[in-house]
Amino acid sequence: MKKIEIITRPEKLEEIKAIVEKLGQYSMTVSMVSGCGLQKGRKEVYRGVEVSINLLPKVKIEMVVGADKVDMIIDNVCKVAQTGEVGDGKIFVYNIEEVVRIRTGEKGTVAI
């Protein structure tokens, strides 16, 4: 079992959600984060003083899936999330040792 963690532009959330649902993946956990990377933020002027905004809003989407589905999901997500500009973000994959569904107590792959 693997966790796919997608960090990308907030406005892409809905499209990503739609595409993974088509792939049969309905479960996910979403949170707002701030990030920096190659994308360097902007400079703005506030009351005459320059401000550099170097952490930009990003959305983090976490999905725990069976190991076999990882590549397919990654490929599809890349497709919709790609704009080609810096700031598109990253996908990280972790190993998950155990999954428990709280409602039933089921463990392992069935619990995903």
């Binding site: 907030p10 959330l13 809905e14 809003p57």
Partner: protein, 445 residues
């Protein structure tokens, strides 16, 4: 470019300034002055001024956090630019010496001669009257910002705001309040359901439809999506402020402290209450739960509706006008959203345009003196309808030309990227709520 505009504006100001100073001097006051009338009109005018805060809160509260600074700034500029433009030119077009029943032609830049003021025949100094009229003009201007919120370029909005305050509104005002042709026909719009609110509402309709809907408002199949506002508390505060301010708007329009004020205040209050209660019940039945933001619109609809007839109807009539406005609010919002497919984030077209028209026509039904239901026949009703149509035609026509011109010359709408990231950052390089964690919209839709 911008530097040049600035210079130009300053030069014009300086020039006209000194040419008018000459006018304003060397005469003696001869109008009949009443201290209590002056106090009344000024206090009422201050209350109407405060409605600007109400509009700002309603419009900001009903739209998204990422555009809050921008909407606030637009509201602030409506008053600021409007105050200067109306003083300089609008007031003269509205109340200056009549030309053909269509437009006024004197009293620019505050140059009201004492003798001409004495002829005007009211008991307060002209500056007090001018203040009262200025805040009315600003109200008409500010209505549009709500309907065009979250996607309009700031620079284009500024141009619109200037033009409506300086010419579109004053000319309607002249027709009805300044001795123009509708005035002559006996058209009754006591405090401005049509003059102020419909003008704002129709301009909003034209503006919002030329501008197009916000990204994400309509699905490909045309189904509308809800885009909830970011602060119901601020929105509700705005409605309370507007209700409060309306006690200046309507009773103040009597322009004198006489025995009619009490009735006007009561009709105003009852219609607002009836509008709110009606919408609450309708939405409860129709959507299963009483809708908060629509109920707030219902109160405003009742207020707009009673504005034309507040001095002409009795209290029972006021309750009915409030109820009628309530129905029009609910079905009007749905109509604009689903049938016209015009994206009006705060319901300005319905509240000000539709309820303004409905309220004006209702005078023909409920006026104690001349209303159809009170045995007055259909003459007044006809005149009211004519006035509503004429003002709608004028406003939509001029607004159409105005917005199309702006669109062609400087563009009306921000870029897709800017709209997504929010106009606060895009247009002003700032965030309204820097300390708070903002969710992405898709997290709650």
């Amino acid at each position: 470019m911008k530097k040049k505009i600035l210079l130009l504006v300053l030069t014009v100001l300086v020039f006209v300034a000194f040419s008018t100073v000459a006018f304003a001097e060397g005469e003696e006051a001869t109008y009949e002055f009443s201290a209590v009338d002056t106090v009344w009109v000024l206090v009422a005018g201050f209350l109407v001024f405060f409605m600007q805060a109400g509009f700002a809160m309603v419009e900001a509260g009903f739209t998204r956090a990422k555009n809050a600074s921008n909407i606030i700034m637009k509201n602030m500029m409506d008053v600021a630019i409007g105050s200067i433009a109306f003083w300089a030119v609008g007031f003269g077009l509205m109340f200056g010496a009549d030309k053909l029943g269509l437009v006024g032609s004197s009293w620019f830049f505050g140059s009201v001669s004492t003798s001409s003021w004495a002829e005007f025949g009211i008991t307060i100094p002209f500056e007090a009257f001018m203040l009262f009229q200025t805040v009315f003009a600003a109200t008409a201007a500010t209505i549009v910002s709500g309907a065009m919120a979250e996607r309009t370029k700031f620079s284009s909005y500024i141009i619109y705001s200037f033009v409506i305050s300086i010419v579109i509104y004053p000319i309607v005002g002249h027709w009805i309040w300044g001795g123009g042709w509708l005035n002559g026909l006996g058209f009754t719009d006591f405090a401005g359901s049509t003059v102020v609110h419909s003008v704002g509402g129709w301009a909003a309709l034209v503006g919002a439809s030329i501008l197009g809907p916000r990204i994400g408002k309509y699905n490909k199949d045309g189904k509308p999506n809800a885009i909830p506002g970011h602060s119901i508390t601020l929105g509700a505060l705005g409605v309370f402020i507007l209700w409060f301010g309306w006690f200046g708007f309507n009773p103040g329009s009597e322009l004198a402290a006489d025995g009619a004020l009490g009735l006007i205040a009561m009709t105003t209050n009852l219609a607002a209450a009836a509008g709110g209660v009606t919408v609450m019940f309708i939405t409860w039945v129709r959507y299963k739960k009483p809708d908060v933001s629509m109920t707030l619109n219902g109160v405003l609809g009742g207020l707009v509706g009673i504005t034309a007839g507040c001095a002409a109807v009795d209290m029972v009539g006021a309750v009915f006008i409030g109820i009628i406005a309530g129905f029009f609010v609910v079905f009007g919002v749905e109509f604009v959203d689903r049938v016209l497919k015009v994206d009006d984030p705060v319901g300005a077209v319905t509240v000000h345009g539709i309820c303004g028209a409905v309220g004006t026509i209702s005078v023909g039904l409920f006026a104690v003196d001349g209303g159809l239901f009170y045995g007055g026949g259909i003459e007044l009703l006809g005149i009211q309808a004519l006035g509503v149509v004429a003002v709608a035609a004028w406003t939509m026509g001029t607004a159409f030309v105005l917005f199309k011109t702006i669109k062609a010359v400087v563009g009306l709408r921000v870029t897709k990227e800017e709209e997504e990231v929010g106009l606060d950052i895009g247009e002003h390089g700032t965030e309204a709520y820097g300390d708070f964690q903002i969710k992405t919209p898709s997290m709650f839709i």
